[in-house]
């Protein structure tokens, strides 16, 4: 009898435990990044990661142009609902009020996942949401391995870690170069609604100004070809004279190693590497770059890598598909001539 009672108590307890820990259905909130009324390319990559989680995908669009952007987002196949926070306070993507908007939207909508690109914006905002929701975020995933399991590079990409989250909400930033883009806006017909509650937290930080490097060339983060220059260029004049015409000859974006950026040859925003941009173009041409592990972290998933360096011992040759051991000041203008259309 005692045995029977204890058994049924055990059964009851395990039933309770099972329901408390039963995985509820995944439901993913994706933060839409947009500028000048257009959805950013990285957001389409993040939407692909969101679709791989398996549950319905809701998009959150915030800012003064949010209603217009939401109309476009609603046409992206695979999105079930678009939530709109039409409020100019979110225009600059400041972390303090944006994180409160995300946290309150998660609470109101019962979302199990929040995905945002691991852009400067995503990295700035999402960890702060973690503080509010008491959740340990997961940075820069390169693969969705399950509803709660993700793959991400650590140690500058020298180690790949698979991690499982035990948090009720998964806050995830997504590495753009690791995912294909979701379909462009077309046949989708997601419902568009205002967010249930816009906390409209006053931001303690004031946005003063920005300086964006203007360029006619393809965007570094999403270009299919990248030409990068390093310390071997020796100065800014050479960088401009050698790298830019070459990139233009093949329609490539321009990148740079940290050494080139630190020495003032190229703008900070062009830095490829662990602490700069991570790119994975079809073609990556490294010119005068030795290939330090911090640089390799930013480009070694490129489909084809070409290295031009006069030092045959440079580590870049260990990852290059094609190598040229030559003086870049001779080889690159030569290539530029041959490839000019």
């Amino acid at each position: 009898m005692i045995f029977a009672t204890s058994r049924s108590a055990f059964a009851r307890a395990s039933a309770i435990r099972a329901s408390a820990f039963a995985p509820r259905f995944a439901s993913t909130l994706t933060i839409i990044e947009h500028a000048d009324g257009a959805i950013l390319p990285s957001t389409f990559k993040t939407l692909t990661a969101a679709s791989q989680i398996g549950g319905p995908v809701t998009a959150l669009v915030a800012g003064s142009t949010a209603p217009a952007v939401a109309t476009e987002v609603a046409k992206i196949p695979g999105i079930e609902k678009v939530l709109v926070a039409s409020n100019g306070a979110y225009d600059k993507g400041l972390a303090e009020n944006f994180s409160d908007l995300i946290a309150s939207t998660v609470k109101d909508g019962g979302f199990s996942h929040v995905l945002v690109s691991s852009s400067a914006f995503g990295k700035n905002v999402l960890p702060r949401v973690g503080a509010t929701l008491d959740v340990q975020p997961i940075s820069d995933i390169i693969k969705v391995a399950g509803e709660d399991t993700f793959v991400r590079p650590i140690y500058a990409g020298n180690v790949i870690a698979t991690i499982k989250s035990t948090d009720p909400v998964k806050l995830v930033t997504v590495r753009s170069s690791a995912f294909e883009a979701a379909p462009a806006p077309s046949s989708g017909s997601a419902a568009v609604e205002n967010v249930a509650n816009d906390p409209n937290t006053p931001s303690p930080t004031e946005w003063i100004s920005e300086a964006i490097a203007k360029s006619e060339r393809p965007d570094l983060g999403s270009a299919s070809k990248v030409v990068s220059g390093g310390r071997g260029l020796a100065n800014k004049e050479n960088f401009d004279k050698v790298i830019f015409p070459f990139a233009d000859a093949i329609g490539a974006a321009v990148g740079a190693s940290r050494a080139a950026v630190d020495s003032g040859f190229a703008d900070n925003s062009l830095q490829v590497g662990q602490t700069g941009k991570v790119v994975a173009p079809e073609l990556y041409i490294a010119v005068g770059i030795s290939g330090a592990i911090q640089h390799l972290a930013g480009m070694k998933d490129s489909k084809t890598i070409v290295a031009i360096n006069k030092d045959p011992e440079a580590p870049i040759f260990q990852v290059a598909d094609y190598g040229l051991v030559e003086d870049l000041f001779k080889a690159v203008p030569d290539l530029t001539e041959q490839l000019k259309k």
């Binding site: 990295k123 503080a131 940075s139 920005e210 040759f317």
Partner: protein, 251 residues
């Protein structure tokens, strides 16, 4: 307003060292370790704030959450100009950014600090989270990826590295700032300063006495090396390279 600064510093595998995996974990035995480069920059900035304006900085407190051996990086921080230091000794346990931020918050609260300067990310876990989580827990404004910091009274103006360029924001103290590479060039500790640092305070707190819930939220299922790339070929001429690229329809 005088600044009471907390600078968290992390001990990591040296930036030039490739990590090895042993028995499903990163092998730390006999591996060269250093102060995380971004933490070094954060610390340098704190010291420069003191040097740049007399009486501005009241205290610089270097804090490390890590193993017993992390006191090495605290001694370095003291040699570079921190006034005092605290090691929250985690033994062999590797804490996550959320737990570390909670521990740091307890230090900030106790210090009555009004500025926390951190590195933007640690080069081992590459999370880029701790500063933002800490700011969120403290409910302070945050300025991440800082490449320039200007302090006038209680107003702090920070230039931030963002995708495509930079932006400038301003906030009042208290504030959390995370340092980007371009913020400054850290100094080397001189021998006399290393000697002096041995006399500066280093307080040790056992993790269990810190009074913070640091239960892990993530489980590491596996760590492995990334797929290696096939060895390529060294070509003889630019013509040959052009042919290869054209054959592959890359140009």
């Amino acid at each position: 307003m005088s600044l009471r600064i907390v600078v968290p510093v992390k001990r990591v595998i040296d930036a030039a060292v490739k990590p090895r995996i042993k028995n499903g974990a990163i092998d730390m035995t006999g591996v060269k370790t250093s102060i995380n480069p971004f933490c070094d920059i954060a610390l340098e900035e704190a010291v420069r704030l003191r040097e740049g304006s007399k009486g501005l900085v009241a205290n610089i407190h270097a804090v490390s959450v890590g193993p017993e051996k992390a006191q090495d990086v605290l001694r370095q921080a003291l040699a570079k100009g921190a006034d005092n230091s605290t090691l929250i000794n985690t033994g062999k346990e590797e804490l996550e950014p959320l737990a570390i931020a909670k521990l740091l918050k307890s230090v900030v609260d106790k210090d009555g600090a009004n500025l926390v300067l951190l590195g933007k990310q640690a080069i081992d876990d590459d999370s880029n989270q701790t500063g933002q989580i800490l700011a969120g827990l403290l409910k302070w404004p945050q300025a991440t990826n800082a490449s320039k910091i200007v302090i006038e009274g209680d107003k702090v103006t920070v230039t931030r590295e963002i995708d495509g360029g930079e932006e400038t924001i301003a906030a009042k103290l208290p504030l959390v700032i995370t340092a980007d590479l371009r913020l400054n060039e850290p100094r080397y500790a001189t021998l006399p300063n290393i000697m002096k640092a041995k006399k500066k305070p280093l307080t040790k707190i056992a993790l269990k006495d810190a009074g913070v819930d640091t239960k892990p939220r993530l489980q590491t299922v596996s760590v492995e090396y990334p797929p290696t790339r096939e060895a390529g070929s060294i070509l003889g001429s630019t013509q040959e390279l052009v042919e290869k690229l054209k054959a592959a329809s890359l140009v």
